[in-house]
């Protein structure tokens, strides 16, 4: 095991790069399992209440902005595409392309958060909020008009904010890690035989995307059959 024969990216406690990459990948898949369990608690709780209070949950959902959510879905799915291209660039050793695709991914993720910001601002303006005092506006009037329990409508909104909020936190962390990858690549620490670092981060990114793909229909499309004039 002389120093001259092994790759500079090989960490000292691994026997060879194959073991190192296999470990990194396995580790990330295990971490993703923890994230799935984490969100599973939220999804499980949501599902329970949705089964108990279908009318209120559907009515509440119908007041959310599906347009913003759709734009966000498109942004996030595209970012997964750019992330995959980034892996390819890393495998081919194309540093410029790698950095560009990573930046594109980060940019799309940031765009998602910006759209989310607009969406939350609109929600605040329209009093689509779960607090006893802050809940009001059209969503409240509509619920009362339908004879629904406004408490359970507010319960839906608790889930809306907590689930999209936690997802947003994960996305911001992902953007941070992607930017870190940009820095790593810029300083030459991602040669072709270490592309697995990019692959491992992309696994996380795809999970954040996948969670959104489940979250979005549950929260935004539950009330799709109810039409309002905004």
């Amino acid at each position: 095991m002389s120093a001259s024969t092994h790759s500079p990216v090989l960490k000292h406690h691994f026997e060879d790069l194959g073991q190192q990459h296999a470990s990194e990948r396995l580790g990330m898949w295990m971490f993703l399992a923890t994230e799935v369990l984490f969100f599973a608690g939220l999804f499980g709780a949501y599902t329970t209440y949705r089964l108990w209070y279908p009318a209120e949950f559907e009515a509440a959902s119908s007041h959310l902005n599906v347009l913003y959510a759709s734009i966000n879905t498109a942004l996030l799915v595209t970012s997964s595409l750019t992330m995959t291209f980034a892996i390819r660039a890393a495998k081919l050793g194309n540093r410029g392309e790698l950095i560009r695709y990573l930046l594109a991914t980060a940019a799309l993720g940031t765009a998602f958060m910006v759209v989310k910001g607009f969406e939350y601002a609109e929600d605040f303006r329209e009093h689509i909020l779960p607090g006893a005092g802050s809940f009001g506006g059209e969503i409240k009037a509509d619920a009362e008009a339908r004879g629904l329990d406004t408490g359970k409508v507010r319960l839906f909104l608790c889930f809306y904010y907590i689930m999209t909020g936690i997802h947003g936190v994960h996305l911001v962390i992902g953007i941070g890690v992607v930017l870190w990858l940009v820095q790593q690549s810029y300083t030459g620490k991602i040669p072709p035989d270490n592309y697995s670092t990019v692959e491992v981060v992309s696994l996380y990114w795809h999970l954040v995307d996948a969670i959104w793909l489940f979250l979005m229909p549950l929260l935004y499309l539950a009330g799709a059959s109810i039409k309002h004039s905004h």
């Binding site: 339908r146 004879g147 629904l148 329990d149 408490g151």
Partner: protein
């Protein structure tokens, strides 16, 4: 300093006996198993302790037959515990239909009981958390011996637990929900009630007493001839009577009158029937349904009626809710009060009841 506890605590109900038999079965089986393991370990440790003349040890890897044996045998024993325990639990979970009913409300940090045909009593708690009136009416939950009683419980704030060791029984008491427990007391005496779910500072003082008395004493207690409490109970009247007064005071009768063109369904004979709901489906009109209809009337609309009932949430206390539910349960054919009826005072009740002008509460 007190003397040692009895070997087996007092068994004051039929369930307590069932518990004890099961408990001792498990104790004996697990005791034998545990002692057998200890005996084996002790014997091996003594017999095979190393000495200067010990040789080397044999290479023993295991025995499939033994593994199977000591997997299957414990499994069957454990399943016997499960099976017997399930039978006993089933007994505890299903009260008989003719059980006498009592409502109990738990709140930080006291217990209040309301009989459906009798008194309202505070049966335990921390005197420091009570007002003067409550403190003077601290009594016991009086129950007749040899008659099953079903207790329906709810909490006004956090989760509590109504535990009676002499009956070997407990049940959590939840806010926003009713839970039930039942006993068949068999022994006259006084027994502890404990709060068995941590609920804050005075959780350990949220204790009370159950008094199991003879049939005659219990009847006298119910009719107020012999108040078995500490002092005069200031409210004396059946729960349903209380509920009737509220029914009029809150102007429920304005819509829920006996009139055929009333704005709301007639409530006579409602309890226990299956109610068809707007939008499909049906629901049995039990206590929970009645309560929900009072607090959240738009949740389940009866088929053929409009959703016009206002909500009474936040305007009536848990005690009053129980009274209204009891009254509606008791409404038999022809008993809906007249819209213009004055509400008479029940026997022994304070006579000053303000006459409310006709403006219903709610939004």
């Amino acid at each position: 300093m007190s003397s040692l506890l009895p070997f087996i605590p007092t068994m004051a109900s039929t369930f307590a006996v069932k518990f004890e038999i099961l408990f001792w079965y498990i104790t004996i089986v697990t005791g034998i198993a545990g002692l057998a393991v200890y005996a084996g370990m002790l014997y091996f440790c003594v017999r095979y302790r190393r000495s200067a003349t010990s040789g080397s040890t044999p290479r023993i890897l295991g025995s499939t037959r033994l593994e199977i044996a000591w997997t299957v045998l414990p499994m069957f024993l454990f399943f016997s515990f499960f099976g017997w325990g399930a039978v006993v639990f089933n007994h505890a979970a299903h009260p008989p239909a003719d059980a006498m009913e009592v409502f109990v409300i738990g709140k930080q940090w006291m217990w209040k009981a309301q009989y459906s045909t009798g008194h309202r009593v505070i049966i335990g708690g921390n005197p420091r958390n009570m007002n003067e009136v409550e403190r003077q009416s601290i009594g016991r939950l009086v129950l007749p011996v040899n008659r099953p009683v079903k207790i329906t419980l709810t909490s006004e704030d956090v989760i509590h637990d109504f535990g009676v060791p002499a009956f070997r029984s407990k049940i959590d008491v939840l806010p926003g929900r009713y839970t039930t427990v039942w006993y068949h007391p068999t022994r006259i005496g006084e027994y502890h009630i404990y709060c068995d779910q941590y609920c804050g500072t005075w959780h350990s003082l949220m204790v009370g007493k159950i008094a199991v008395v003879g049939e005659q004493e219990f009847d006298e207690f119910l009719y107020g001839i012999q108040p078995l409490q500490g002092t005069e109970n200031p409210v004396d009247g059946s729960l349903a009577q209380e509920g009737r007064q509220l029914f009029l005071k809150l102007q429920c009768v304005t819509c829920h009158s006996a009139n055929a063109v009333a704005k709301a369904p007639v409530l006579e004979g409602l309890y226990g029937t299956r109610v068809p709901l707007k939008g499909g489906g049906a629901e049995v009109a039990d206590e929970a349904y009645i309560l929900e209809s009072i607090l959240k009337p738009r949740a389940k609309i009866v088929s053929g009626w409009e959703p016009i009932m206002p909500s009474y949430e936040g305007q009536i206390t848990a005690d009053d809710q129980a009274a209204l539910v009891a009254y509606i349960r008791s409404m038999k054919r022809g008993t809906t009060p007249d819209v213009t009826a004055q509400f008479p005072a029940p026997n022994g009740a304070p006579t000053e009841r303000p006459k409310q002008p006709a403006s219903p509460g709610g939004k």
